[in-house]
Each structure stands twice: as C-alpha cells, then as structure tokens.
Symmetry: C2
Subunit: 452 residues, 2 copies
C-alpha cells in the first residue's frame, strides 16, 4: 500500500513459540517464561531491530477441553496487559499490542487500561479486540457456554463504540491545569457519554485524559464474515490468514470493498497476514527443524486434538492406522474449516499420528522458511504485489527464531529499502501512517456551531 | 507488634498530593502526572530509602457529584494496575499495592492481574480490596446507584474467596516443565475451582501459575463495622484512620478480638494508620504550609462540597457568613461522620469558607508535622505503644513531601534502629513477617490422605 515500508509485528501467545509443543524443545525457555527478564530481552532485541510492534495474544482460560491438555500443553503464562505495561517502562519506540476480550470484561475498565498504557508508553498502545470463542473461557465468567457468534460481534461493536466514546470523553484541549485560575479542566470539554444500549449502560466520563494516539490502535484478528465486517467497520489493522500471494491480493480486494461501504480508504487499514518464519542455512534445514517440532507432540494429545476437531472419539484407534470415516459437514456442529483440513489429510492416506502432528502446528499460517535472502524475497514479493502491508511474525521457537529474524532477515530488508533503519518520531499511529482519530464530542460541537 | 521495624507505605491517590487542591500548588507537577518518568522517579526514591511499599489508591469514575468538581478537581490520572506493572519493571524491592474494585470487575481477571504482577515483580504485588461506594462509579458499570453496603461486603467476601481459590488452582509443585517426559504440569495438582455462589460462578483453573507469594498481599482500607469484619477475616494489612495514640491502642485491641474469632493471631495482621507527614524547619512552618494549601480551594468547590456533606443547598449563602442550621442526624441520609464534623466546626463559629477549607483536607487523617526528629518521635511513640505497625504516608504535596520524608525522616528512624537500612531478601510477605498462605487444594489432599 501507500506506506513506504513493510510493517513487522513480532507475535507470541505461547512464550515458548507458536507450536503447541514448542515448550518441549531443548532450547525453549523453562521457568523463565514467568520471569520479566525473559520478555524484556526479547522485546529490547525487537526494538534494536526497529520492529514496529510486538503482539501478545491471550485467552481467559486454560486449554482443558482436550483431556490431555492440562498435562502436556503449556497452559501457565503471564497476563499480557500487566506484561506489556511492564515492557512499556523499559522500551521507547516499539508498539505494544495485546488482546482483551470484549465478552468478558467491562468497557470502562478496558478503556482505562489502554488509555493508561498509551500515556505510559507515550502513544504505543494497541488493543486487539476479541470476542472469546472457547467454552472454557465462558465458564470462567458465569456462563454455561459461549455467547452466540453473531451476538458476540454485535456486543463487541457496542462495546468498542463505548470505549472509543470514553477515550473521547476528555477532548484534547480539556486539560487546562491552570494553577492560577484554579481550572484543572474545561467543563465544556469533558463529557459524560451517557451510553444506553442493548448490552451496556455507561455514563462516563473516563478518569484518564485523552490518550496520546487519540484512540489506541485497534486491531482485529478474525477472518470470519462477522470478523471481517467488524474489522473494516472499526479497526485500524487486521491480522489475517492466507496461504498464497494470490489469496492475499484477493483478500485485499474483498477488504477494500468492505472498507468502501464504510467510506474508508484502503490506506486506513493495514493487513498483516501471519507467517511462520524459520531462518536456516537452507530450505531443507528449515524443514527438518519444523519436523522435529512435530515429533514433540505426545500421541495422547494428538489423538485428543483430532477427536475434538473431528467430533469422533478416536481414543481406541491405533495411532499408526488410518483416519476412520469423518462426519458429514452438513450435520457437523464444530469448526468446519478444521474438519475439512482433517478430511484433506485423511484422503492423502496419512495415519492418525501424522494428521495429529500436522494439526499441532498453529492454525493454517504458511511457513516462510529458508535463508535470510529467501525469506526477504518472499516478504518483498507479497508486499510489492499488494498482498500484505506487513506480517505477523509467528515464530515456531522462542527466543531463537525471534532473534534470528531480527538479526538476519531485518538487515536484508533494510538493505533493500523495505524496512526502516531508525524509528520515525511520533506515536505508533504516526509510524504506521494512520491518522489520529477525530474526537466525536469536539466534532459534534463544531457541527452544532456550523448549523447555528 | 512482634515485627522488628516500622512498616512505611508511601501513598497517593492524587499524584499531586493528598489535598483536594494540591495540584494548584506552584511546586506541584503539571502535565507530568501523565508521564511515566514522574512515577519512576518517585518510586525509585522510595526504594533508595528502603520504604516497604507504595500504595496507589483508585476510583473507577471522576468526581462530578459536586458540580464544580470537573472544573476544579484533578480528575484525570493514570490507571494504577498498568502504572504499577510498569513500575515493577524498573524497581527490585519495593512492594506494589493498588486498589481494585470487587464490585466492578470480574474475579478471574483480577486474579490474573495480581498473579501476573506478582510474577513480574518477583513477589511484590498487593491488592487493596475495595467495594466502591461512589454513585458515579456505579453508573459507569450499568447500575443506577450503589450496591447496598452490606451486600457489597457479602459480594466482596465471595469474590475474594474465588480469587484466592484461583491463586491456589495451580499448586506450587504443579508446574513440571519436564521436556523429556512431555509433562508440562501435573494434572493432579491443577484444579478447577467449580465455584457456584450467590453472586458468581467461576470454573477455573487460572491460566497463571501460583504467584510467588502464594497469595499476593491482601489489604483492606475501610473502618466501618463491615469493613473491619471483612479485613480481619480476609486481609493481611489494614489501612486505618485514627487521631491519637490512645485511639490506636484501642483500635488494635478491638481488631485483635475480631482476629481471635477467626482463629488468627495479632501478628498476622498489620495495622497502618494514615498520617499526613509534613517535614519542615519548625511546627509553625509546617502549619503555614498546610494553611497555604487550604487557600487554594476555590470558594465554589468549598460550598459545593459543604452542600453535599450537609445535605443542604448552600449555594446562595455568603461564604463569609455562618453555617445555617444543619439537619438532624436521625433523618439524615448521607454520611453521619462527615455531618458531625461539619456540626462541630459550625459550633466553633467558623464561616462557610473556613469549614469548607477544613473539609478539603483528605479525610480525618492526623497531620504529623515538624522537624525530622519531631516526626520520628511521634512515629516511634505510636509504634512502641502498639498503636501502629507502621504508617500509610499520605503526603499533602508531591513530589517534595515524599522526597523530604525519604531523605530526612527515614535516616532518623534508621538511626534509632526502627527502620531497615537494607532490604531483606524475599517477597513482600517475607519482609512484612507474614507467612505464605497454604494452598487449599494441597491441604485438602493432605487431609484426605490423613483420613484414608
């Protein structure tokens, strides 16, 4: 897009890397995942490489729908808002994105957290809005099961509107701090929002003044219809999943049409597809590394995973045998995308264990593996074709894949003029070429003035 | 009490100091209250002085029940959890206490925040449990008015029990991270809490492993009957308000009786009365400084304040005139303590303005003013008499009163052997001489074993 360089966002959910079993790798961190120093080192390395943002994903539960999940999956981790706030204090430039659930929190609290993080970081905060889809999450918040998908997004839209109104509830000029006159604020520029909607009632104003970015950057990460509609209506950046450059170009076209419906231009919306970057001496070496990670999946977890994705109880089937007949899509109540991936592999005559191992890779994000030059080639190719404004870097193994990318791929991109060599001044929005949002209350008053 | 030295906790709610109008003082901070550096400097100074904890209070609304509040009161501030997390990253020893409302948040989220802050800070996190009493707060969270006082505390007790259970949901030995066997955790030591109570349903387990302190330190700050009962049942430390050493001795006696009902010993519960310390060359100079702060109260705010505390509309009365007849306590619906303070001053023939200025001091916390030696004398006197385990230092003007205390009073207390000269190793609980709480699930299993 119009913006001059590739946007790079360094991601993690599992602090050991973005494979379900990364934690078992001999070079993965152990107990240091609970130690702030581990994250400080990671993020300061990213900042040395001039990476745009780090992105810490989140769930509000452990993963125990699969019985073997508690034993074999790395369920314990730090909470990301407190972690990012701590990181804000020891970094100066890098953007700080984290997930917060609009289904299981209060809009007044979330508005405060991100407004405050934006002040503390001098304009580097970003909220990845999620609606939370796991049954395990619902049960930690007084519910028996998930809120219905469409309703979750309707609620999320109302929730986000409240949060943005609260960020606007102090106009930029509201804060006077005039010691002489005794006016701390201009009452005409501090607004109750008096929101009364189907899901929430919030009076306001916020007790944090307007964030440096106006609104902290809004990110959205779901590629369902509801997700894409929500993103193009409300978000600034979008984490997407597609496998080829052609898919990316098509995805951008579809997104642009949706943006136009909201009167938005393509440049106002950054698309960052997820990739799994593996820097290695050769493609073969990269593949070997990936296959090694797959061997770390205990059979039990693989079978449990496959059972839950296929809706069948496969615990009695031999791991080296074939996948039994799968349910028909029309009557299947689970995730259809997952089921169809399993079906595809089953057709290739893979064994249960082999299918399970493939499932253990995170989602369907493409691997971009090879030498630094080969990786830079592919990123450049997608970027120049308009398939991506940048990339969500989902490293299979931390910290080494993160460091390898920062130290080897970034310089290659810099040499090609595709990536910054110094941070530009300003906020995260400034650096991404995204405008500072207007204040709805200031606009209202201007409009009223124009009319009268 | 048994513990060897005075506990010192450096407090703020208003980052300009603990007078409603401190922000107007020529030496008070201006826009730097939104800047992390301001707080880093304050807290690092406290850490140099070996202060036990900082305590950042909080409300979840601005103060606009008084009409002039928006114009003249310093309502904009940072959110304290994000602030303390950022401070955790740039400090090593000092305890980090903050308020979170049990009425307007979800127990799963609050359990995560404090567990994570405890990991990030290596055992220095502390939660001041409040039930939130302002109408303005209720209206930011979907309610028309406050939850009834007794019900708030009943809810808070259930809430706190859930949070403690979630902190226990990973036993200390649960985390195996055994790369060889593939066991990340021992499933027998990771527990769903399956809480189903009158106010909450929470399944668990938490997705953060057990905090270094077992449970982050629990603080409570209300001195109502409900507040004291809640504190002695559930808390480790208690911020109290009393005016004299004799009151403090009586307060401790009352608290010890309540503790005994819960099978607790006096040493398990630290009482920290609030004081307003003013270090000056002489008592007169200290008094002058305090009176100067009072002159900063705009008449409008004073009259509005007095109106809301007395239940009368005083806006038409001359500020230099007397206080009109006050309502009878038996029919008064507001705070009785406040009304009686106003009545006492009215009897002394103070004018409206004079009464209003006295009200503008924070609460009824005693001023401890004078030279460093005089202040140390008073702290020692209360401590040795058993009236206080330490003090909640509510500085009228920041940052200078904070720095003066750290640089002048602390060395005097150290000379007397009443305060540490180096931080002891360990967690905040270790330093306060408070035991690490047992894990309820581990205890359950031990009991079951003993029975069988």
């Amino acid at each position: 897009m119009a913006h001059g360089h590739i946007i790079l966002s360094a991601f993690f959910f599992n602090p050991q890397g973005d494979h379900r079993m990364s934690w078992r790798h001999p070079r993965a961190p152990g107990r240091e995942i609970l130690d702030f120093d581990y994250y400080r080192d990671l993020v300061q390395a990213a900042e040395r490489a001039k990476i745009d943002t780090i992105f810490v994903a989140d769930h509000v539960s452990i993963w125990d729908s699969v019985k073997s999940g508690v034993a074999h999956y790395a369920n314990a981790r730090l909470e990301p808002l407190t972690l990012l706030a701590a990181l804000a204090g020891v970094t100066r430039h890098i953007g700080l994105i984290t997930t917060a659930s609009s289904s299981y929190s209060e809009p007044y609290n979330v508005a405060r957290f991100f407004a405050s993080l934006d002040h503390i970081s001098k304009g580097r905060a970003s909220w990845n809005v999620v609606t939370s889809a796991m049954e395990e999450e619902a049960k930690n918040f007084g519910r028996d099961g998930n809120i219905d998908h469409a309703l979750r997004y309707e609620r999320a839209a109302e929730y986000l509107d409240i949060v943005k109104a609260l960020w606007d509830s102090w106009e930029d000029e509201a804060l006077l701090i005039d010691k002489e006159s005794g006016y701390f604020a201009d009452p005409a520029r501090v607004h109750a929002i008096n929101h009364k909607g189907p899901h929430f009632r919030v009076r306001g104003p916020l007790n944090v003044s307007r964030p440096p970015q106006g609104h902290p950057l809004i990110v959205q990460a779901g590629s369902s219809e509801d997700g894409k509609n929500f993103a193009t209506a409300h978000a600034d950046a979008h984490f997407a999943i597609f496998s080829t450059k052609e898919d990316g170009v098509g995805y951008r076209k579809d997104i642009n049409e949706r943006l136009a419906r909201h009167g938005r231009r393509p440049e106002s919306f950054k698309i960052l597809p997820g990739i799994l970057p593996i820097v290695a001496g050769s493609k073969d070496e990269a593949l070997e590394r990936q296959e090694y990670l797959q061997t770390l999946l205990p059979d039990q977890v693989g079978i449990d995973l496959l059972s839950s994705w296929s809706g069948l109880d496969l615990s009695a089937y031999p791991p080296d045998g074939p996948v039994p007949p799968l349910p028909d899509e029309s009557t299947f109540n689970g995730g259809h995308t997952s089921l169809n991936r399993v079906r595809q592999w089953a057709k290739q005559n893979l064994t249960l264990r082999e299918v399970a191992r493939r499932l253990s890779n995170s989602g369907s994000v493409p691997t971009v593996a090879g030498t630094p030059v080969e990786i830079a080639d592919q990123l450049e190719d997608w970027f120049v074709a308009g398939a991506a404004d940048g990339f969500n870097l989902m490293f299979p193994l931390l910290p080494e894949d993160w460091h390898a990318f920062a130290e080897k791929v970034v310089p290659e991109l810099q040499r090609r003029g595709l990536f910054r060599t110094e941070y530009e001044p300003g906020t995260l929005r400034d650096r991404l070429g995204l405008p500072r949002p207007a204040n709805r209350f200031a606009e209202q008053r201007d409009n009223e003035r124009a009319v009268s």
